[in-house]
């Protein structure tokens, strides 16, 4: 103690406290890691292990031997291809409609004073506080043959025969767009709020009309938010089960419905696992692509791509 505490630049104890300081730093890091440990453990147990297990199952045939049977069937049977195409079509359509509805809404919100915007944001988020199942049933009630919309439409003389509004792709889209819209608006709004209003003023002072300023300055800067929202909605749609199952009426088969069928009807865990693996791979590919497009901003990132 006493020798190390005395200052002697030429002496042997020149690294005063170096070892102890290193130890402190290490302890601090371990402390941080310790805070993250419960979550990491949870993710491992509830996500990595089951996914790994499914992954393994998908390579086993009924007898439990290694086989590529499930993947081979997916390639050979055209119904599988159709399922994937339907899934992509519905997801893409939902994403596009969400963009068309969500972009102007987010723009409007971003231009409001902050207090008013917060109030409107509550309205956007309100559906989150209701169960997904309830919301989907509500659409069923509204859209079915004897539902509110058909009854009123006929009463008002807009159409005479009940319209087929549900149990088809249209009904599925209506329900999915309704549920997905907040996921589009939130990242868009965050990105748009972060765009400095002076940029548009600068564009105007340099001679830009409001429309031109929007397209050359505002829109490019909102793209990271758009990419984040679009990829979020698209990925969520890919694995969506409840709404297509209820509003699609069996006519709209998405991958998740097919997985459910494989398990509930055919008890074919291998086939279901293989579908799950393919869906997961596609989803990851979409996320990577989206991250590339938005240049580093993650799916929840509201950063300004530079």
């Amino acid at each position: 103690m006493s020798a190390a505490d005395a200052y002697d630049p030429s002496g042997p104890a020149r690294d005063f406290h170096a070892a102890a300081l290193r130890r402190d730093q290490w302890r601090e890091r371990m402390g941080l890691a310790g805070l993250a440990a419960p979550a990491l453990l949870l993710v491992t147990v509830t996500l990595l292990v089951p996914v790994g297990w499914l992954f393994g199952l998908s390579f086993l045939d009924d007898s439990g031997a290694f086989s590529l049977e499930h993947y081979r069937r997916m390639l050979s049977e055209p119904s599988y291809a159709r399922t994937f195409i339907t899934t992509f079509e519905i997801s893409l359509a939902t994403t596009l409609i969400c963009i068309l509805l969500g972009y102007p809404l987010a723009y409007f919100l971003s231009q409001l004073p902050r207090r008013a915007a917060n109030l409107c944001m509550i309205a956007v988020l309100l559906p989150f506080w209701t169960s997904l199942l309830v919301r989907t049933y509500a659409w069923l009630v509204l859209l079915q043959r004897s539902g509110l919309i058909n009854t009123w439409g006929i009463k008002l003389g807009l159409w005479s025969e009940p319209l087929q509004l549900v149990h088809n792709a249209g009904g599925t889209l209506i329900g999915m767009v309704h549920i997905m819209l907040p996921f589009m608006v939130l990242p868009l709004y965050g990105t748009m709020r972060a765009i400095d209003g002076n940029l548009l003023r600068a564009a105007a002072s340099l001679g830009s009309t409001p429309v031109h300023g929007f397209w050359t300055v505002f829109f490019p800067l909102s793209l990271p938010g758009l990419a984040a929202g679009a990829s979020l909605v698209f990925v969520l749609c890919l694995g969506f089960y409840v709404t297509p199952a209820m509003l699609g009426g069996g006519k709209v088969t998405m991958v998740s419905n097919r997985i459910a069928n494989d398990i509930e009807l055919f008890f074919n865990w291998g086939a279901a696992s293989a579908l799950g693996v393919v869906l997961l791979v596609i989803t990851l590919m979409v996320l990577v692509l989206a991250a590339r497009l938005s240049r580093g901003a993650g799916p929840f990132g509201a950063g300004q791509g530079s």
Binding site: R201, A202, L206, G207, P210, W215, V217
Partner: protein
Amino acid sequence: MRQADDQQRPQDAAVASGGSATALPIAIRQLSKAYGAVPVLNDIDLDVRPGEFLTLLGPSGSGKTTLLMAIAGFLRPDKGSIRFGEREVVRLAPHKREIGMVFQNYALFPHMDVARNIGFPLRLRRMPAGEIARRVEAALDMFQLGGFGGRRIDQLSGGQRQRVALARAIVFEPRIILMDEPLSALDKQLRERMQIELRQLHERLGTTTVYVTHDQREALTMSDRIAILDRGRIARIDTPRAIYDDPGSRFVAEFIGESSFLDVEIADGVARAGSAIVRARDLPTKRGRYAMVLRPERLRLLGPGDGDGMNCFDGHITGVVYQGDTLLLQAALGDGSPVSLRLTTNGGGAPLPSPGAPVRIGIAVADTVLLPDEARGAL
């Protein structure tokens, strides 16, 4: 999505580095703006002369930025007239006003590189690509940014961003330039260098410039004239020197430069501070209470026998602050009024005055200015 320009611009033929188009005067009449019941601009009348560098100076909330935004067209006034030359612009959209504007945070487009930022107004004017490249290059050179054309904005330092913002604002040769505290984000040394550069740029271009700042030293350094705003009105407009030497009101004296004030009472043509008689360059004739302006650098420490042509006060030193180039002395006069003196320092290890020492302080009669004391209701 490009929109055709509303006006043809004959001055397009000129080049960024070349002579400027004729400078435009700005005439503002009875410009008013209120937010609810709170007036921010109160019947402002202001003439900016062609080619002039005019600074709007005032504390925050004085309306200086509001006034600038109204000139730029980003703020719709409640009433009033703004003319650029002969043209009434008060209802004209900002993008038709042909002003070069520099913002406090530069407002550079982060998704465009330096060259595309500077070329933005030129592309809007549908200039041929070769011409744009040439002008951007000239602008880059002019601001010592040669070779930076391909840089992203976030790769630039504060001073470089400032230059890009300036280049972008002048490259299309606007006849009016507006600047909203453009140097406030820079550190002190860079700010002082940019003040000189901006001033030189203005002398070269000769473009009518309206500059907003809350920094009185910046205003004094750069301006042809300063308009001092106070609660939505113009309290004073004049050259820096005229304002500094004769502030005209206590508000202006407090805002421009440092000063202490001494209560003075005028009765029967004689001005008295306590019992001492005060002489002044222009002694007001009206009786009442006045404030005598004591600028730190105009005060002298008097030795025995000094004091010809001066108003002299006895006091003692209360504080000594050595600041390198100057020495700031705080003193209390006989009646307890605090004053500050700024003296140049000498080398040679001369002893500094010490607190408590008695001193005699003088100010030349020619430097003595008496202002009506608004705070105490002069007259």
